[in-house]
């Protein structure tokens, strides 16, 4: 394994997903071509990812940055709760995908449900604008809201591209596991 910088990342920026055959082909124009042995690094990253149950891994070396994200068919959410104690956590944040596999109801809408128990907030802070409004077009991985649990701010991401047709939960109110938060129309275009 190279001595390049690699770190586990949990971020709400859309990750770069390497298509299946990318490692085998030359890179795009303007970027250094991906050499044969670098495809080996990509495979090593993927192996490290799987062995350690990570979702993203980034490697930077010799001017090339490779980020790999592992996508599973069925989402299992692993939430790590920071040590809870009075005053030890003021604001920590993490992004987790919406808990249940996105449910398509009969009208073709996708329901984004809460994967945890907590308090629903539409904005990152009381005086900030809400993350999204009804009618907004959102992309997969985009943060829609925060569910706060035990002083930990959990950013809930959209599972699909689409238009927010309905906001189903009320800001500052408690939500339970599986409670519907947003309805998204996946067939809508920007």
């Amino acid at each position: 394994m190279s001595k390049g910088k690699s770190r586990k990342q949990r971020t709400n920026k859309p990750p770069i997903i390497l298509p299946q055959g990318f490692a085998d082909t030359a890179g795009g124009k303007g970027s250094p071509s991906l050499l044969g042995n670098q495809s080996k690094h990509v495979q090593e990253l993927i192996d490290i990812l799987k062995r350690n149950n990570l979702t993203e891994l980034e490697l930077e070396r010799e001017g090339v940055r490779i980020r790999v994200r592992y996508e599973q068919g069925i989402k299992t959410v692993t939430t790590t709760v920071a040590d809870v104690g009075p005053g030890t956590v003021t604001s920590a944040s993490q992004a987790i995908p919406a808990g249940s596999t996105p449910v398509e109801d009969t009208s073709g809408m996708v329901t984004i449900a809460s994967p945890i128990v907590g308090t629903f907030y539409r904005s990152p802070s009381p005086d900030a604008d809400p993350y999204v409004e009804e009618g907004d077009y959102v992309k997969k991985g985009q943060v829609l809201c925060i569910v706060e649990a035990m002083k930990l701010m959990n950013e809930i991401e959209s599972e699909v591209d689409g238009r927010v047709t309905k906001i189903l939960a009320e800001s500052t109110k408690p939500v339970e596991y599986g409670q519907a938060l947003f309805l998204i129309d996946p067939k809508a275009t920007p």
Binding site: V117, G118, M150
Partner: protein, 446 residues
């Protein structure tokens, strides 16, 4: 007194706790998995929060979700029931650190008594009788061999982090020890996450006798008599009774005294149970302490009149014990049958929809259950669906009432172990009170 209690459990025990809270004027929060959304205990509570999918690890044992539910509902205490998080020292500790009262013993009590080898050591050092065995955990095969030679075969190898009758192996001769030792360690590691094991003499036909204790924060401890839980299948209890047919008043005082001394030695708080083995000559030996309310607690309630769940709540609230040892009398006799959703002969699970449910009643009959007509028995959890408890002036009357109650009990749509219980009650040895922990195996074999 607490304003609101969250019950971190399900089924009959959740309902039991909700009932005690209602009687004390305390509001209740039922947390439930998606599978239990329509459950009777959820309907009985004042508030409900869904905390996860059916899998227990993601719902009933999901500490962040349970604590978050307590936070958003403003609960000031959590009752963990039995199983799930009830003997999770880490959970008790987290509750303590965030200012939510854990209704049960302290996290130190749980951690200490959860280490079965260490608990034996502490009790032995107090000069109290323990089953002859290894002083603590066995560090090597050689140590195991030496200990077994000293104690005498047969021996039983047990997991230190175990309990509930799991992770145990009987060894009849020295040749089998090495293999059993390694297998027990591996099993302990995979089941309980810790490979520590210890060794005890294996009694051939012992009785399982356990003593109910209650302790307050000032160190006052009383016992509420013994329960005989010898009728077990694969170390899972099926029928319990109090008083034990094998224990007379003199022995009761003695076992009770030892149980109280054992829990005092570890500064135990709240309600707990001390388990003993009784051999054929009526010698008794300390086995372990269960740091929770037990499934069979109702039979003690029937003979003593003490509401154990209310005592747990009051003690957790900081009250001192209002009952003195001399106030405790065992009146009459009580029996409990655990009804499981299983085939009564093959013991295969029988989940499904209960199409008709009609629980027995009448003088001296109590049923603790969260089942009802059109309730779904889901496969994700323990198969016990009801406890039938009877009380009578003597053992004969308690048995007659149990027989009558089981005849009346209607559960259609699934298979239950009611027919098995009826057979047990009709057995001549059972009727004479001649049972030991090998009773059911012999009974089932033919």
């Amino acid at each position: 007194m607490f304003k609101k209690v969250l019950i971190a459990n399900r089924g009959e025990i959740a309902l039991r706790v909700i009932r005690a809270c209602k009687e004390l004027g305390i509001k209740t929060v039922a947390v439930h998995s998606e599978a239990d959304a329509g459950s009777f205990h959820v309907k009985a509570a004042d508030e409900r929060i869904c905390i996860g999918p059916p899998e227990a690890a993601l719902s009933y044992r999901n500490i962040p979700n349970v604590l978050s539910a307590a936070e958003i509902t403003g609960a000031d205490a959590i009752h963990p029931g039995y199983g799930f998080l009830s003997e999770n020292a880490h959970f008790a500790e987290v509750c303590e650190s965030i200012g939510i009262k854990f209704i049960g013993p302290t996290s130190e009590n749980i951690a200490l008594m959860g280490d079965k080898a260490k608990a034996r050591e502490i009790v032995a050092r107090k000069g109290l009788p323990v089953t002859p065995g290894s002083p603590g955990e066995l560090k090597s095969e050689q140590e195991a061999l030496d200990a077994a030679t000293k104690i005498g075969y047969p021996v039983i190898i047990k997991a230190s982090a175990g309990g509930g009758g799991r992770g145990m192996r009987v060894v009849n001769k020295a040749d089998d020890l090495a293999r059993a030792f390694q297998a027990a360690q591996a099993e302990a590691k995979s089941t309980f996450g810790h490979d520590g094991v210890y060794l005890e003499r294996y009694f051939l036909e012992p009785r399982h006798i356990e003593v109910q204790i209650i302790a307050d924060h000032r160190g006052h401890v009383i016992h509420l008599g013994e329960r005989d839980c010898s009728i077990q299948r694969r170390h899972q209890k099926l029928v319990e009774e109090t008083p034990s047919p094998a224990v007379d008043e003199k022995l009761r005082k003695e076992i009770g005294r030892v149980a109280v001394e054992a829990v005092k030695a570890v500064h135990y708080r709240n309600v707990g149970t001390v388990e003993f083995l009784l051999d054929k000559d009526h010698n008794f030996f300390f086995m372990e302490v269960n740091t929770r309310i037990q499934v069979e607690h109702p039979i003690t309630e029937m003979v003593t009149g003490v509401d154990l769940i209310k005592e747990q709540i009051k003690l957790a609230n900081g009250q001192v014990l209002s009952i003195k040892q001399q106030d405790i009398r065992l009146n009459g006799h009580s029996l409990e049958c655990r009804i499981n959703a299983e085939d009564p002969e093959k013991f295969t699970p029988s989940p499904g929809l209960i199409t008709k449910y009609n629980a027995p009643g009448g003088f001296g009959v109590r049923v603790d259950s969260a089942m009802e007509s059109n309730a779904m028995v889901v496969p994700h959890y323990d198969s016990m669906i009801a406890k039938v408890i009877t009380h009578g002036r003597d053992r004969q009357e308690a048995i007659a009432r149990m027989r009558r109650a089981l005849d009346e009990f209607v559960i259609e749509g699934i298979k239950t172990t009611i027919p098995l219980h009826k057979r047990i009650l009709n057995d001549p040895d059972f009727q004479k009170g001649h049972v030991s922990t090998t009773f059911l195996d012999r009974f089932l074999a033919g």
